[in-house]
């Protein structure tokens, strides 16, 4: 009797496992299968009932065996159901496939203006060299704009700037250099500042805008030389343009620096070979600079015997136009959004 029950159990087990592995069960037949084996009248349920009639010696071993089979089958059923569900879901997922090439739900993309962005960038570059940003008003007194910068009234150098006057003694600042004076009046040497800002000249044609931007640099210490100025501006130019950009200083004249220089960079268009944009010279002028004139130091009561300094001024529009190949300054202030969105 017990032998036959064990054999029966083994047979049911084999049948059940074969069926479970056969891959023929679907959502409804798996339920029927469960009922067939594990239901109240199921084959395994029946076996478990039959075990009750076994002798007490045979019962525990047989019971354990039957429970093992029951567990095995139940787990097999679970596996099949999980697999059926997985299949069903992947089928559904594929049915929900969309045309992903349809246009996105776009947002308007904001852009900073090239000039303000560049001012921020240049300020960042110089802040790495220990320069702080100095400021001054756009409506400026003649004193700060000219007199204190070694350009007294009726000095021929005043002709270098076509000036907008508000009153006889106030102007729209023609350069950012007044910030040098304002800063030195308030702070002691040594100091390093840059001063980005809006400046104005009475000049309006294809290549000039009556309003434009400059960035001024001033470095005063006990040892500053033209060589330091060269090193400083070279470092900047090679960060702003490219690491291989060559730089040259060329003698020039500004009343507030002596010696004075124009700073040229290797032409960004022809890489110094000579083209129409650099007038075949291979160089492009980007800044005026020089050693701070002793008269400027005297105006702010710095001791000219103890210090020296260098200063430079760059046109931001010029830098921007060269770097981004913008042919016309007017594009910067026309505010055509098709232009603004390019940068």
């Amino acid at each position: 009797m017990s032998i036959s029950l064990a054999e029966k159990l083994e047979e049911i087990k084999l049948q059940a496992l074969q069926k479970l592995k056969s891959n023929t069960l679907d959502e409804t037949s798996i339920e029927a299968f469960r009922v067939e084996y594990l239901g109240k009248q199921g084959k395994l349920t029946q076996i478990l009932k039959d075990i009750g009639s076994l002798s007490s010696e045979q019962r525990p071993a047989m019971g354990r065996l039957a429970n093992e089979v029951k567990h095995m089958v139940a787990q097999g059923i679970e596996t099949v159901i999980t697999e059926l569900k997985r299949k069903e879901r992947s089928k559904n997922l594929l049915e929900g496939e969309m045309d992903l090439t349809l246009p996105s739900r776009a947002r308007y993309q904001g852009h900073r203006h090239l000039i303000s962005k560049t001012i921020t960038e240049i300020s960042h570059i110089f802040s790495k060299y220990g320069f702080q940003v100095g400021e001054g008003p756009e409506i400026e007194s003649e004193y700060y704009n000219f007199d204190a910068l070694n350009t007294p009234a009726f000095h021929p150098a005043r002709d270098m700037h076509d000036t907008f006057y508000i009153t006889e003694k106030t102007v729209l600042r023609t350069h950012t250099s007044p910030v040098q004076i304002r800063t030195m009046e308030k702070f002691k040497p040594p100091l390093r500042i840059i001063a980005p800002g809006t400046v104005y000249r009475h000049d309006d044609d294809a290549s000039h805008s009556p309003m434009f931007h400059q960035i001024e640099g001033l470095w005063v210490d006990t040892h500053v030389s033209m060589g330091h100025l060269k090193g400083l501006i070279t470092a900047f130019v090679q960060t702003f343009f490219s690491a291989s950009t060559q730089v040259q200083l060329r003698p020039s004249y500004f009343p507030f620096t002596e010696p004075s220089a124009e700073l040229d960079i290797e032409c960004v268009f022809c890489k110094g070979k000579g083209c129409t944009l650099c007038k075949q010279s291979g160089w492009l002028e980007v800044a005026g600079c020089g050693m701070v004139h002793p008269n400027v130091f005297k105006a702010v009561h710095y001791d000219v015997q103890k210090i020296s300094g260098c200063a430079f001024g760059m046109g931001i529009e010029r830098l921007v136009m060269l770097r981004h190949r913008i042919p016309n300054i007017k594009l910067l202030y026309e505010n055509d959004i098709r232009f603004l969105r390019q940068f």
Partner: protein, 792 residues
């Protein structure tokens, strides 16, 4: 100034390669800004002698010429008539391409063989001229075409910086070149003889103001012959852009361009009493100057006068009455030094800028006045005849003392890095005309030549040394030195940066407009407070400084709408200006069109006030100012829509405004879309920023949400309601959210239906149902009482 290389060569030899000259001058601080060099391919051009000519057998207007060149004899059919046998011209032989594109070929014209073309100056691209070019009589067929046509010479424009008036002449430039290339300088040595014998005429000069005129020289030349100038003189002047007038005037201009010393010639017989007074003008005096303008003079002006009144405006322009004319027989030549500031003041006031004033106002070489005068005298005697019977007069009471300047090795090293020695400096300065007075290894003392008025102190010498030895010799150095971290120079601009970052994030484009506007713009904007005016504007449209950023923004909206861009979000953050000379930083934004780019899945929606409000609230959120603290009320400026506008108020302080643009203003600026604007005063906002943000504990206990819906009279605002809810719900209420608003016909007239979702929460524990119920009822009662709400 224009420099003619042929002229320059008289004083210094030039390098063969013009490129080298240009480079070296540039490196020494004189930039060549333009160059006119005759570009002409002369490969197929020959000098041709016309050896025979006869009429063309088949054409009345043509001539058949036999010409001879270094390559042989040719037959040419010619259309011009301005030549004779024996003349030399330029023959373009087959293969030549002329500047006008004409290709020369061997051809037959009306049956006659033509082996080239005799060219006119126009055809050679040299100048406008009729007929073929006839070369000077001494031309020869073996000569180089380029030399004969003067193609090897160039005229260049040199940019002379305002500190270098000494270089505003050919001799001045030659002096620089001589120093740069170490070539000797050859200066003219004027020679003329002073006639003996009694003079019938004599001019007396009385300098009354020797401060304004420290040196005055003059020379009388009698019995001159006014007439046209010789060709060489005309050519020289023309090359540098001056028109020939007559031989005397031309010589004065020639010497001006040669020495840089302005010279004036008076008709000596027009000087009353033959006495010249150099004096300050009398207030209200007038002078009719050479350009036939009547100049009203002031006492600060310096005039050359005779007993009757001014005959010349010193250093600027002569008077019409004493002008040298065809009838002039005797002339008085003036060569003087006038005070630069005096000249500049008058020149600026009168708007009168001449070649003379441009030099005097910067300072001429007071020592070279005599040399220039001698040169003029020599040349006038040469080209206009006449006699000089007296030595030149020279009123020079206080002799110019040359400056002495010291240069130390220490300063040279400090300024230029340790690259140049004093010995090098000494040599360099000497080539520039400085005289060494004292020299040791540590100190150099030099005397500055009279023409270098710009050199007054040590740094000026340093520049001279660096300029001539080469800026490229100064090695770049690492910018080492002291930081100045203890000095807080920089102001905090993180506010501006964070606002810009926010606006960029929500889709705004930043714009920048020039700071100008026009009175008309202000009227269009209904702007009615005073603005800052520019006293010398470029035009009326840019005659004011903008008091608001809005004008530029509205114009830019219009500009872009005209380019089919209608959905726009723009802002500008820049200063605006207010009288008398104030400026403050503003942030102004405008939006119009669709609030989102069109999308296939959604309907387009236009921007409205609530989009704008969200942007403004977002802006304040980035500055850590809670939006609940902001109030939007009071009256915004007149350019706002009267029904859709408000000022932004934080704790009774005005920070800006927002709203819709007034439809009338919208129309005035030709804008087809409704425009919503916000303006925030950045300077005011900055002053309201707190010290920082500090952590608040995160809630540990769950919150409870309850909805409440009710009817209220239409006049009750959301703001009124939330105020009531917040105060009745204190301290448990943490959020009040309006989630439904209905104004339609389903509610009784005069009322609106609102539904709010209220969030209750306590930091320290979970709220009980009973507590929530109680507070919710309190709120409900408060709404009934204070807002006439009918709870639903």
């Amino acid at each position: 100034m224009f420099i003619d290389s042929a002229w320059l060569k008289q004083y210094v030899s030039l390098p063969k390669d013009f490129g080298l000259l240009s480079k070296k001058l540039t490196q020494a601080g004189f930039e060549i800004t333009s160059l006119s060099k005759p570009e002409l391919d002369t490969t197929y051009l020959r000098i041709a002698k016309i050896i025979a000519s006869k009429p063309h057998p088949n054409a009345d207007r043509l001539t058949l010429c036999q010409v001879e060149t270094q390559d042989g004899k040719f037959q040419i059919v010619c259309g011009a008539k301005n030549f004779k046998v024996g003349d030399h011209g330029i023959l373009a032989t087959p293969g030549a391409v002329l500047p006008n594109g004409m290709v020369i070929q061997e051809t037959h014209i009306r049956g006659e063989h033509s082996q080239g073309m005799l060219c006119s100056e126009k055809e050679l691209g040299l100048k406008e001229a009729q007929g073929i070019l006839i070369l000077s009589a001494d031309a020869d067929v073996s000569q180089n075409v380029r030399t004969v046509l003067g193609l090897e010479e160039v005229v260049f424009e040199l940019q002379v910086t305002p500190n270098r008036p000494d270089a505003m002449s050919h001799i001045g430039v030659a002096r620089e070149i001589s120093a740069i290339f170490h070539k000797p300088l050859k200066l003219p040595r004027p020679k003329f003889s002073v006639s003996k014998g009694k003079t019938a005429l004599s001019v007396k000069v009385i300098v009354q103001d020797s401060k304004k005129c420290p040196r005055y020289m003059g020379c009388l030349i009698q019995n001159i012959q006014i007439g046209p100038s010789p060709v060489w003189l005309v050519k020289r002047l023309k090359a540098v852009g001056l028109r020939s007038i007559n031989n005397v005037v031309d010589v004065t201009n020639y010497v001006l361009m040669e020495y840089g010393q302005p010279i004036h010639a008076f008709d000596a017989d027009r000087i009353q009493n033959h006495t010249i007074l150099v004096r300050s003008a009398k207030e209200g005096e007038t002078l009719n100057t050479l350009d036939e303008q009547t100049r009203k003079l002031e006492s600060s002006d310096l005039v050359i006068a005779d007993i009757q009144g001014p005959i010349g405006l010193a250093g600027m322009m002569g008077g019409k009455d004493s002008e040298v004319s065809l009838q002039t027989k005797n002339i008085f030549i003036e060569s003087a030094y006038f005070d630069p500031v005096t000249i500049r003041k008058t020149s600026k006031r009168l708007g009168l800028h001449s070649e003379a004033s441009r030099r005097f106002e910067k300072g001429v070489d007071i020592e070279a006045i005599s040399a220039a005068l001698e040169r003029v005298t020599e040349l006038i005697l040469q080209v206009a005849g006449g006699t000089v019977q007296e030595k030149a007069l020279d009123d020079y009471p206080k002799k110019f003392k040359r400056k002495e300047v010291e240069l130390t090795q220490a300063k040279l090293d400090l300024y230029l890095g340790n690259v140049f020695t004093l010995a090098q400096a000494k040599k360099t300065l000497e080539t520039l005309g400085f005289k060494t007075l004292q020299f040791s290894s540590q100190k150099l003392r030099v005397q500055v030549p009279g023409f270098r008025i710009d050199v007054t102190q040590e740094v000026d010498l340093i520049e001279e040394v660096a300029r001539l030895l080469g800026y490229d010799k100064i090695p770049a150095q690492e910018p080492t030195g002291h930081l100045q971290l203890s000095q807080k120079i920089e102001k905090d601009h993180s506010l501006e940066e964070s606002l810009k970052t926010f606006l960029t994030g929500v889709g705004f484009l930043e714009v920048i407009h020039p700071s100008f506007c026009s009175p008309e713009d202000l009227i269009k904007l209904k702007w009615n407070t005073p603005t800052v005016a520019i006293s010398n504007p470029i035009g009326l449209d840019t005659s004011r400084l903008r008091p608001t950023l809005l004008i530029g923004l509205l114009k830019t909206l219009h500009f872009n709408m005209n380019r089919q861009e209608k959905d726009l979000m723009l802002y500008e953050m820049r200063p605006v200006f207010f009288p008398p000379q104030g400026q403050r930083s503003m942030l102004t934004g405008v939006v119009c069109g669709n609030r989102m780019p069109s999308h296939w899945g959604e309907k387009d929606q236009k921007f409205d006030f609530f989009d704008l409000k969200a942007i403004v609230e977002g802006l304040f959120e980035t500055t850590k100012i809670k939006t609940q603290k902001l109030k939007f009320h009071e009256t915004a400026p007149a350019y706002y829509h009267p029904g859709i506008q408000g000022n932004i108020i934080l704790q009774n302080k005005f920070l800006g405004s927002l709203g819709q643009l007034h439809p009338e203003v919208q129309e005035a600026f030709h804008l087809k879309e409704d425009v919503f604007i916000f303006e925030i005063d950045i300077d005011l906002l900055r002053s309201d920023l707190g010290q920082g943000t500090f952590f608040k504990p995160l809630p540990k206990y769950p919150f409870v949400r309850r909805d409440i819906s009710f009817l209220v009279p239409k006049s009750v605002t959301h703001s009124d309601i939330s105020k009531v809810i917040w105060s009745a719900g204190d301290p448990m209420i943490t959020d009040v959210e309006l989630f439904d608003l209905y104004l339609g016909t389903q509610v009784k007239s005069g009322y609106k239906s609102l539904a709010y979702r209220l969030t209750y929460h306590l930091l320290e524990r979970t709220l009980t149902d009973a507590e929530v119920q109680k507070i919710h009822e309190q709120i409900s009662k408060a709404l009934q009482k204070e807002c006439n709400a009918e709870i639903r």
